[in-house]
């Protein structure tokens, strides 16, 4: 048992608790909705959470450093509009260049946030509340009330949402879903195996200690914002691909959805703890609830939001209860280990060499 304590943290087990909550939800909805257990349900939910997952991943990077980015809704809108505009002007543009434009544009807006937070020393919530309005305002001026429509887009882009990466039976893994999962895995690997990733945790975990340890905290926070902006840019491109019609109000409100996904996924809003998989599961919990409620018979349009809010609260609460139990279990093990120092050191020398 001591061994488990050393290798796994309660926070890691909590992600299993999220899977447990997802399973509970799926079991519940299965009794309510005919034909719920089908590949189609999976496909629908997967496709619907792809964009928000990418955004939540970016948000997680920023939250880990004890900051927040409320401007990503506007970044998504602006990036998707800008990329759409470039594509319509230049139909032959290589797809990768188009994606690059969206990501680069998002990174640019993200770096403005980051510079203001890091070098302007303005609290992140103030900066991003401000840029939330500013980016949107500039977009409205820039767009001159013109809409990006599907007929302006090259065919590959319009068809992209339909393209499967691969299929398992009737389960389809769409390109967009693949991109989202890829982002999560790639960034999770970065968080685990890159020095940079660990430093992201360090800064959020104890900013004073990070300063004393000589970590380049400012550059790392700036980078987190740039990456968050870049992922919002990628999200914007996915938005363009999925919805085709882009007005200046594209992406309004996505910032709160992304924060909600991260927080439900156990990313500590005060920094230092949380994983990409957590953010993914958070997005999936909310997406499953939303999509399932939409399909639930006899649930009026007008009851849906009330239920959704209730379910999210229950998910957060049960998650907290589970985590608390795990933590106290861990603490008890730690105490037992201390109270029997002899046994403890024996066990430790077991893997000390």
């Amino acid at each position: 048992m001591y061994r488990i304590r050393h290798y796994i943290r309660p926070e890691q087990i909590r992600e299993f608790s999220l899977i447990f909550i997802i399973m509970l939800a799926v079991l519940f909805f299965g009794t309510q909705i005919d034909g719920y257990y089908s590949a189609r349900t999976f496909n629908r939910i997967a496709a619907s959470v792809a964009i928000i997952t990418v955004l939540a991943a970016g948000q997680t990077l920023v939250i880990l450093t004890r900051n927040i980015d409320l401007s990503i809704g506007s970044i998504v809108g602006f990036a998707s509009y800008f990329a759409g505009q470039q594509l319509s002007a230049n139909q032959d543009m290589h797809p990768l260049i188009a994606v690059g434009i969206a990501i680069g544009f998002g990174a640019l807006l993200g770096s403005v946030n980051g510079l203001l937070v890091v070098y302007g020393r303005v609290p992140s919530i103030i900066v991003t509340l401000g840029t939330l309005a500013i980016y949107r305002g500039v977009l409205v001026d820039y767009a001159q009330a013109k809409t990006i429509t599907t007929d302006m887009m090259p065919t590959w882009l319009v068809d992209l949402p339909r393209v499967n990466l691969f299929t398992v039976g009737e389960i389809e893994i769409r390109v967009m879903v693949g991109v989202a999962v890829l982002v999560v895995i790639a960034f999770q690997l970065c968080l685990t195996y890159l020095l940079l990733g660990r430093r992201l945790y360090a800064i959020g975990s104890n900013p004073d200690a990070a300063r004393v340890a000589g970590l380049p905290a400012r550059r790392i926070v700036l980078l987190a914002y740039i990456l968050c902006g870049a992922l919002a840019g990628l999200g914007g491109f996915m938005f363009l691909v999925r919805f085709g019609t882009i007005t200046v109000s594209a992406g309004v409100g996505l910032e709160l959805s992304a924060v909600a996904a991260a927080v439900v996924g156990g990313v500590n809003i005060f920094g230092g703890a949380g994983t990409m998989f957590g953010a993914l599961f958070g997005a999936v919990v909310i997406g499953t609830l939303e999509q399932s409620l939409l399909r639930m018979p006899n649930v009026s349009e007008f009851v849906r939001d009330a239920l959704l809010g209730l379910f999210i609260l229950l998910a957060v609460a049960s998650d907290a209860v589970i985590l608390q139990q795990l933590r106290s279990l861990w603490a008890r093990w730690a105490r037992e280990a201390r109270e029997t120092p002899a046994a403890h050191s024996e066990k430790e020398s077991g893997h000390a060499s």
């Binding site: 304590r5 050393h6 290798y7 943290r9 685990t192 195996y193 890159l194 020095l195 940079l196 990733g197 660990r198 430093r199 945790y201 360090a202 959020g204 975990s205 104890n206 004073d208 200690a209 990070a210 300063r211 004393v212 340890a213 000589g214 970590l215 380049p216 230092g272 703890a273 861990w330 603490a331 008890r332 730690a334 105490r335 201390r338 109270e339 403890h344 050191s345 430790e348 020398s349 893997h351 000390a352 060499s353």
Partner: protein, 500 residues
């Protein structure tokens, strides 16, 4: 021999304060150099200059005889200068190995976890401590966290290690372990700058002692040439009479009886009585459950079994408000985090627990009365501050502790629980706090004194209760309680090899 690090003619001024005034300081390889001084003497400023957090206004720093400039913490590390603090700066969300290596500027961008664990285990083994490199820092005790910091310094091949009051929060046993580590480092030729307010420790570990006062160097001598009284006189600039003051008092009637008090998994079967005017000392290792008994009596973490009988009537204490209403006060061991609201004024801190006393008929706080109370305590406990409206966070440790004491004395308690009341405060202030304790007992207050400073407990207490791993090991009278008796009880029989 050439010093590793030499500070020449260093001065540093802040608005209104001359923190360092043409200071000279040398650190030689393989020596433990103790730096003494009251709070405000300039020790912290010197450390911050050595670690690159502050830049000196004038003077120069020589490393191996070459002048260097330390612009920030990273550069200091680059020069092999590392520091550990009283409150270790660990990353609670990272594990031990990561904490050791996080600040390293290694080549390559990747974390090789296997290698990192291997090297962490290696370093921990070299230090001779049993600590799992994989466990998360959040659950570690203060002593373990300090070990991590020392391991970090070792991994950086630090040639200069600054230890800023590392023992303040440690129990005697842990202090001993820390000193063993320190000796290991000394053998390796590391220069150690050691800061502590505990005289015994200085004499045990230091090779050389330098005293600062008011930003100036007063003396610097090998340990053999100094005496305790001489050092203290250098520090405070005057002669200090009896160190531990405790006058004999008449003990009054029984005030508190605790019977079979327990809290599952924390402590059990605690039995003791406290009379009016009695100081009951609580000794034991950090983590033995002494603080938990205090917290149970104060209702922060209520006990789940046993009886608390206060002045003859049995009480269920469920919350601090309730404890306060029953005349119990608790002065916490963690004065910065739990004792004070640092950004608020001294006056507001003092009045906080008894704020209801200061309300006018319409519920507005009467500032005049609040101010009068604060001024009263400022005089009574000689809190040194330009104004009682100053932020509590700006005070020195000793003065902060006096504010915490004031705030609880102002609730007019009958039972005062003091948890490490002199931790991290300088000798002058410490003597003052001891004097206050003596006075309060003289006025008939019952006092529960939890302290890891063994000489302090022995000197201040009428009787001493020793705890070990949540168990009460015994209560000793003042006459029978010697260091050996108490330590044996605190350690259990098998630890007789420990010397203090």
């Amino acid at each position: 021999m050439q010093p590793i690090l030499k500070l020449e003619n260093i001065s540093k001024a802040f608005p209104g304060v001359k923190a360092l005034d043409h200071v000279e300081f040398e650190l030689f390889p393989g020596e433990v150099h103790a730096l003494l001084g009251e709070n405000g003497a300039g020790k912290s400023t010197l450390i911050k200059i050595m670690t690159g957090i502050y830049q000196p206004d004038s003077g120069q720093i020589l490393l191996d005889g070459h002048p260097i400039k330390i612009g920030n913490s990273a550069q200091a590390q680059g020069y092999g200068i590392a520091a550990i603090y009283q409150e270790p700066l660990v990353f609670p969300d990272l594990n031990v190995a990561e904490n050791i290596f996080i600040g390293h500027r290694v080549k390559g961008a990747f974390v090789d976890w296997r290698k990192m664990y291997r090297e962490a285990d290696d370093i921990l083994a070299r230090l001779g401590v049993s600590l799992d490199a994989r466990s998360q820092a959040r659950g570690l005790t203060l002593a373990q966290q300090q070990t991590v910091e020392i391991a970090k310094a070792l991994s950086l091949n630090a040639r200069v290690l600054i230890m800023d009051e590392p023992t303040a929060s440690l129990s005697a046993h842990e202090v001993e372990q820390l000193f063993n580590l320190t000796r290991v480092l000394r053998e390796r030729g590391v220069a150690i700058l050691f800061i502590s307010h505990r005289m015994d420790e200085i004499f045990e570990i230091a090779d050389r002692v330098t005293v600062f006062r008011d930003g100036q160097q007063i003396s610097s001598k090998p340990i053999a040439e100094i005496t305790r009284d001489g050092v203290i006189q250098d520090m405070v600039g005057r002669k200090l009479e009896s160190f531990f003051a405790r006058n004999e008092h008449e003990q009054g009637e029984l005030m508190l009886s605790v019977r079979n008090l327990g809290k599952r998994g924390i402590f059990s079967d605690i039995n003791f009585d406290i009379h009016r005017g009695e100081v009951l000392g609580f000794a034991g290792l950090v983590g033995a459950g002494r603080t938990d008994v205090g917290l149970a009596l104060f209702g922060v973490e209520p006990a789940d079994s046993g009886e608390i009988i206060l002045k003859g009537s049995q009480q269920q204490i469920r919350s601090p408000e309730q404890a306060q209403a029953l005349g119990i006060a608790y002065v916490t061991e963690d004065r910065r985090q739990l004792g004070l609201t640092l950004p608020m004024s001294i006056a507001a801190n003092i009045s906080l627990p008894s704020l209801r006393k200061y309300l006018s008929a319409v519920g507005i706080i009467r500032r005049k009365a609040e101010q009068a109370t604060a001024e009263n305590y400022r005089q009574r406990l000689s809190i040194r501050t330009p104004s009682i409206w100053q932020e509590a966070g700006k005070l020195s440790g000793g003065n902060q502790q006096k504010v915490v004491l004031s705030k609880w004395l102002n609730t007019e308690p009958q039972l005062l629980i003091l948890d490490e009341p002199t931790r991290g405060i300088d000798v002058g202030a410490k003597a003052e706090v001891h004097h206050i304790i003596d006075q309060l007992a003289g006025q008939g207050m019952g006092i529960m004194l939890i302290s890891s400073d063994l000489p302090e407990v022995l000197a201040m207490s009428d009787r001493i209760l020793v705890m070990r791993e949540g168990q009460q090991m015994g209560i000793f009278n003042r006459e029978e309680a010697t260091q050996e008796v108490v330590i044996n009880a605190a350690m259990g029989q098998s630890r007789s090899d420990v010397k203090v």
